[in-house]
Chain length 196, copies 2
């Protein structure tokens, strides 16, 4: 191939295939296996399309979709850090920054900057689009846990108060989704999926 630019782009698209082998703590809804980051990212894009009306500030759905599509690519090198793993969170930012440098720089410079920009925006959680994207990313595993009888909550001894504490920011970003999360947590306590 003579086109050097296309060569880099294809190399990047080949490299990110590895995201399909980065497994998360959550199970698929049918409970048969752990979910991987690529299919999780796809699911978040669908959530963005379906749940955007609940954002308390007007958001740009297309921009949210782009962010959720790229947000986990760094985990190809940095691995998935479980949201309640305090130790893992200590060096998460550093590991992911290094991963972003290696992975996104496979692309031509202009595109590396564009995609790194989307990832940084997501990580900083400052813009209203990034906040909404992050709310979906936090909400998705809660729904998966609910429908798999609390699988990863039970496996890691996560308590309901921790889920509420860790995710309370959603109450500002999308109040109705926060209400929904509270409802399914209450139901999860009643059903014995999680302790209060």
């Amino acid at each position: 191939m003579e086109n050097e630019r296309l060569k880099k782009q294809i190399e990047f698209l080949k490299e990110i295939d590895k995201l399909k082998q980065v497994f998360r703590q959550t199970l698929l809804m049918d409970g048969t296996r752990h979910e991987n980051d690529a299919e999780h990212s796809w699911h978040l894009a669908m959530m963005a399309m379906v749940l955007s009306e609940y954002a308390s500030e007007k958001i740009d759905i297309s921009h949210v979709i782009k962010m959720v599509i790229v947000h986990d690519i760094v985990e190809i090198d940095a691995g998935d850090t479980f949201v309640y793993d305090e130790k893992g969170y200590e060096d998460k930012a550093e590991r992911e920054k290094k991963a972003a440098e290696r992975l996104f720089n496979i692309l031509p410079e202009d595109q590396a900057n564009e995609i790194k920009g989307l990832w940084e925006e997501f990580e900083e959680r400052k813009t209203k689009d990034a906040k909404f994207a992050s709310a979906l990313d936090r909400m998705q595993p809660i729904i998966h846990n609910y429908y798999t009888n609390g699988h990863s909550w039970r496996e890691h001894g996560v308590k309901s108060y921790q889920v509420l504490e860790r995710n309370k920011i959603i109450s500002e970003i999308a109040p109705e989704l926060w209400q929904f999360i509270n409802d399914i947590l209450e139901d999860s306590i009643n059903k014995g999926y999680i302790e209060r």
Copy 2:
């Protein structure tokens, strides 16, 4: 939950989790297992972001991304039809239409219509965005086959002339990507991954 609209939306998001269990003919790039439709759809969204500059007509990337994100959901009911399976193609349209009715209508009516509209646009391949989305969907398995030593070509005895015949529309939609496909097919013949 009292919010009937949100209830339908969550039910839909739960139902489409099944796309993660619809497996395709292509292997992951590392050859370890078959790819599923959810991670394939994510990969196409990344391809749209990275390769849009090769579209011969000006396209709306965000619209292309939305289309590729939803385009395979019907396969939850209809299954994946291998692109060189002539028998499977006979009733593909009918099976997928029925699937679209059941799956998208889990959503509130306005959203069912919106997402059905994206799916229909993709299927009809008439708009320039749909043509480009379709070109990516055709190109992705060719790249996967190339990097997995022609796995599904060999498994099904697919010949190079069939790949070219079946996908020649890409020459108009994205000439440089078509050139790339021709290059890797030629290399695949030389390496014994596929017969001419």
